[in-house]
Amino acid sequence: MVDIIGKRYWFFGLSILVILAGVVGYFVHGGFNLDIQFEGGSIISLQMEDGNFDTAKAEEEVSKAINKKVTAQKSETAASEGKEKIHMLVLNVAEKKQSLSSEELSKVVDTVNKNFTIKKDTQPEIRNVSPFIGEELLRSALWSVFIVSILIILYIWFRFRTMSGGPSAGVFGVVGLIHDALVMISVYAIFNIPVNESFIAAILTILGYSMNDTIVIYDRIRENSRLSRKTPIAELANASIIQTLRRTINTTVTVLISVITVYAFAAYYNIESVKVFTLPLIVGMVSGCYSSIFIATPLWVMWKQREAKKPTVSKA
């Protein structure tokens, strides 16, 4: 039988490596890349008649009109119907924490209209967020992560209270969850992906979902410990992990199949909001499966072993 508990330090090491890379990424990029949803700012996308427009000119004209720094980009998207491509001019108020007033928004659209051909019967796409509201949103997002963690600890503690060491099982289950959140955050820091509310939603989803695998393993340990009380905890846990390995992996695989499908479609059709939502889910799912097997359970075993060594405990 494969000895997962015995090789635990290798697995801990791998996780620490990923998280350290995240820390390095954080400092290299000078912090997280906060989306305008959290930081405030403006992005205006206009659907153009064709791909023949000069972004440099657009930058210049729009900056003049609103007296703020603007960057312009071209983007091409495949349409789901027909072979025509959708050409977009994406204008970004270059300095973050600057949002536009309704008046300024109108000016931007007017200016582009004057200088280029906006496709007929299309609406501009606008995302405009004031820095103030962004901060508020960020705060409530962080709160929700905190509250979910507490609720899950309480739930696991309640459900596993009959298992010897149930409360500690709850705590280490959540250590696994924190690990998953850290890995997701690290991946974002490493690749400098913009953090927005979808990312927080993804983290919360993973916090809830990733617990599933851990519970399957804990549940098996609970059952096995009833069957054979004399087996050492490390052996018991290891056997439980192996016995449930297939379902731990398969449950994750089915979810990954769905989420990766969505991501692939969103990537092909360039649907940004879905991409930024599903990517962290994919990372979190993989990490959640990994942490259930290689982090949460081995850590809990170590804790139980330490407890057993304490002289005050009369019988192990």
């Binding site: 039988m1 659907q47 349409a79 789901s80 119907e81 959708i86 007033s101 309704s102 008046e103 300024e104 928004l105 109108s106 659209v109 007017d110 209209n113 019967d121 299309t122 609406q123 501009p124 796409e125 606008i126 995302r127 405009n128 967020v129 004031s130 103030f132 997002a141 709160w143 929700s144 979910v148 899950i152 739930y155 696991i156 459900r159 979808s198 939603a201 919360l204 989803t205 916090l207 809830g208 979902y209 617990m211 599933n212 695998d213 519970i215 399957v216 379902r247 398969n250 089915t254 979810v255 199949i257 769905s258 989420v259 969505v262 479609f265 059709y269 649907i271 909001s273 879905v274 939502f277």
Partner: protein, 443 residues
Amino acid sequence: MKGKDLVKFFAVVAVIAIMTYLAFAPNGTEIPGIGTIPSAYDIRQAADLKGGIDALLAPKDKDGKAYEPTNDELNQAKSIIEHRLDAKGVLDRVVAVDYSKKRLTVQIPLKKGTTIEDPGSTIEDLGKMALLTFREIDETKAAAGELVAVSGDPILEGKNVKKAHYQQDPQDGSHDVAIELDDEGTKKFAEATSRLINKRIGIFMDDMLLSAPNVRVAITDGKCVIEGQDTVEEAVRLAQDIQAGAMPFKLDAESTSSISPILGSNALSVGITSGIVAFILVCLFMLLFYRLPGTLACIALLGHTVMQLLAISWLNITMSLPGIAGIILSIGMGVDANVIIFERVKEEIASGKTLRSAIDVGFKRAFTAVLDGNSTTLISAAVLLYFGTGPIKSFAYTLIVGVILSFLTAVTASRIMLQSVAGLNIAKHKWLYGVKGVKEQNG
């Protein structure tokens, strides 16, 4: 297969078939005596799927500084925005007040083909300070059935109104609005009402006529009553609007997002396609790994997915792009319970149990793990529902519905189908359950 099992099995399949039909009936299904059951086509779509403008409006005073409105003032502001949207013919909109954060959210849908070329100015128009005026009605045009004001200065402006409130006439019980004017207003109104006896005075918000009462007597004390509104609601609304004429703030957009209907419908069809592909792939996986029970799991998954669509439609939950992602995620999570249970059943078969008892024990023993796993996901989704905004709320809703339904279908539909099929002679081959050898599983 015994007769009883056969009935059970086909009952489950029939229920799922009916649900599938209901979910995909293009115009909903009418059931006599009950009403119409809405289908997936009736699901309300958020701005990111059908296009539209979403704005979060915050009250600001004249100089653009933050203004702390009372709840009444927020309600007045809401009423004004609704009037303005009525005037534009935008009826399918949502205007909501967040009392704790002192803000208003406005959602304006855009249908394909209609154009609001400039969302910036649209929002700006909505948030302007309301201009309430009392004006003389042009009687020559009124004779032709058109109620418009004569040009020139208004008789009164919103700032002249000290108070406006609803009251019921103690004698005839009619629904009235009582208005109190300030000193300047009293003077102006006295002059106008003595001049316009038996003529009408129009009360306008911006350019829209709210009410055009007849002047019966000259009003010199600055207190008047507009009589004879049809309902309490109408009178309360009118009072609110007149009171709002004195609203001392405007509404500035703190966040605006606008999505074009073309890109929205593009995203919708991409979402639907990816959902179908994901469904097929998950089913293939289940078939390959779990064979006979896998097939049943796919039927159950279909049941779960269509029930989710029906529930979303029936509960009138607004669907957004993250919401679609939530449905597809639920497809993946929906078979989780089955995977856990089937693995357990396999183990029980391998340990030498008969097929029937393996299935019974498998479902029973896997139950706690399935329940706990779903509960934690539910906790997360509930918190997300509480804290999330717009599109994310829609994701949280679909996830909650999905988790509950997947749990229910796994412990009912899958179980009934598997138990009844297990009675079948052909179904007794262990290969069908993906059990390789009896011994190697006994670790």
